[in-house]
Symmetry: C2
């Protein structure tokens, strides 16, 4: 549609596929979501271009801890099933679960939503999910960007990136340096695959096994494949705060993300130490289904295997850790213990399965 | 390729399109870039899962300022021209130029790089550009995520999101509240279109005018269309620091991004005030070309028109502001002045063109 008053054949931004009004509409719709996440540190009445958040005064010698992540091709399952309400929780979980491994308390979060043609309703559902997960994690949704990029994404698709900042007193940073042989490894269960390995899971379930998202194969206990795959990434910020508040001197924490247990546990251990896993725990039903077509070694280095987050504590403090977690309704998994290993042991070989 | 030791017909992550080794290779390649951006506050030896950065001790009652942005479909021009070296500078500019409008000093930056199939060489060039822009802006590249999402992006394409955090003393926040009629508006030139309006510019130049990225139309003074479009977003952090260090009591600052002058100047002005633009400045050649097919009103609300960043200062401090900027080799533009307006004036009508 040429504008009547412009140059001959003039083109508008809307003609070119960018709808500023839709963007403004979305901004208005998500304001209340951001507001519900507000923490006392947020300066709400300033910042035309950016979000402002004070450094908490009760944190001595504060260190900021920051991480960014996406949710991978779990998005594809969201597109196929229309489950846009919880993918935001995945985004927050992927970022915040990383930040809290240092002992940091989540402070604020920002999101990036990129799409070809903005569907305000879908974007609103995604951002609402982000805000709800921020609130559960105790952090403010301080800002975000919704980008309409005509021709960059297939119709109905979008990508998400998240960015989390937390804060910890310098003397209270959990960095794994004091981990010692004999320390105990306590795990928290995951809800399923969380947000890793979906390209492999989708390949196996949809392409090889020819399942559809609405199918209910026997192993899934009445759930559809789509429902099992879309189970939101668990948010562990409350669990970490509970254990730290109980006074446990946590020596290391690990978020079991891409790379699985062998890829993530050694990231926070000193050289010469590894983990001997003792327990066999119940693996998620959806994982058992995927396992029918993926060899065990590959399964271990791609998926979380049912353990989403790990604490390393001294043997003396293991029970106090478990109690703090049980008070939240958790059933902590006694995964195993820290053992000495030759310093030249391969990275992933530092996690020994039973 | 089925694995020989797995279940019959077993599938690997690599079979499913995700190459962990390529990701690891990239991580090794970009480590030196991140290192070159390190600032004293960065805690470099901790943080397996996240980046750590202390709050600067010389900032009293510190407030964190954060923003996120992308670079829009300027990416498409990068794909078409192979100019992957400077798009990272655009990403940093889009985020950091927002953060500094509050008077904040940039502290750290994180990037998200999403692609269908990771091309390590391209990603390395993009991240190097990000790191160089971080260094020029005085902030640390504290982390990043490279996500390989098979089937989400067209071959050779990627999306970028950036996240910047800065810090400012609470008493030194620049928030526009003290702007008054008679204050002066000083502009810094942009390098071209920066990173906004590319869907419209590409539609006009490539689809309507049938130009190719390698063409050199008369108006572009010997540059190709691709070169003119890829001119990197200017980084204004040094300019802001120079003006603040000169002791100027800056009353407001604005980053001229999506929405142009009418969309961005009023964002930092109190109700009842607007800007009367007096100067006519030289518009970028590429903009003049686009203007042949876009009406003036639309041009103004989509593009920066050649002004990338704006200071509002008292009339008494205008010359000192200009001097500080000239010391950096700038030729500041005397854009106009702040004028009283009825409070009910439409948002964009608060910027009056000559």
């Amino acid at each position: 549609m040429a504008s009547p008053s412009g140059p001959k054949g003039s083109i508008s931004y809307r003609d070119a596929g960018v709808d500023i009004d839709a963007g403004d509409d979305l901004v208005e719709r998500i304001k209340p979501f951001a507001k519900m996440t507000r923490i006392p540190e947020v300066l709400a009445d300033v910042g035309g271009f950016a979000g402002l958040c004070a450094v908490p005064k009760d944190v001595e010698d504060p260190v900021l801890v920051s991480g960014t992540d996406g949710v991978g091709t779990k998005l594809k399952v969201a597109f196929e099933t229309g489950a846009h309400d919880t993918i935001g929780s995945d985004l927050v979980g992927m970022c915040v679960n990383d930040v809290i491994t240092t002992g940091a308390r989540p402070l604020f979060f920002l999101d990036y939503f990129g799409t070809g043609k903005l569907d305000v309703g879908t974007a609103e559902r995604v951002v609402r999910g982000i805000a709800e997960a921020c609130r559960e994690s105790g952090c403010a949704l301080l800002g975000g960007e919704t980008a309409e990029l005509p021709g960059m994404y297939a119709p109905g698709e979008y990508d998400l990136a998240g960015f989390a900042v937390g804060v910890v007193a310098r003397s209270k940073i959990v960095d794994g340096k004091r981990v010692a042989a004999g320390d105990k490894v306590v795990g928290l269960r995951s809800s399923g695959l969380h947000s890793n390995g979906y390209s492999l899971a989708r390949r196996v379930l949809f392409d090889e096994m020819k399942l559809a998202p609405g199918d209910k194969p026997a192993g899934l206990e009445g759930r559809t494949v789509g429902e099992a795959l879309m189970a939101p990434t668990r948010l562990y910020a409350r669990h970490v705060q509970a254990v730290l508040s109980a006074g446990v001197d946590v020596r290391a924490m690990s978020h079991i993300t891409g790379g699985g247990l062998p890829g993530n546990l050694p990231r926070v251990l000193p050289d010469g130490l590894g983990v001997r896993l003792g327990a066999r725990w119940k693996r998620p039903a959806i994982l058992e289904l995927v396992a029918e077509r993926v060899e065990e070694h590959e399964l271990r280095r791609v998926f979380n295997l049912g353990v989403g987050y790990v604490f390393v504590v001294t043997a003396e403090e293991e029970e106090r850790t478990n109690e703090a977690l049980r008070a939240l309704g958790e059933e902590p998994i006694a995964l195993g213990e820290i053992v000495a290993m030759p310093p030249e042991t391969d990275f992933e070989a530092r996690v020994v399965f039973p």
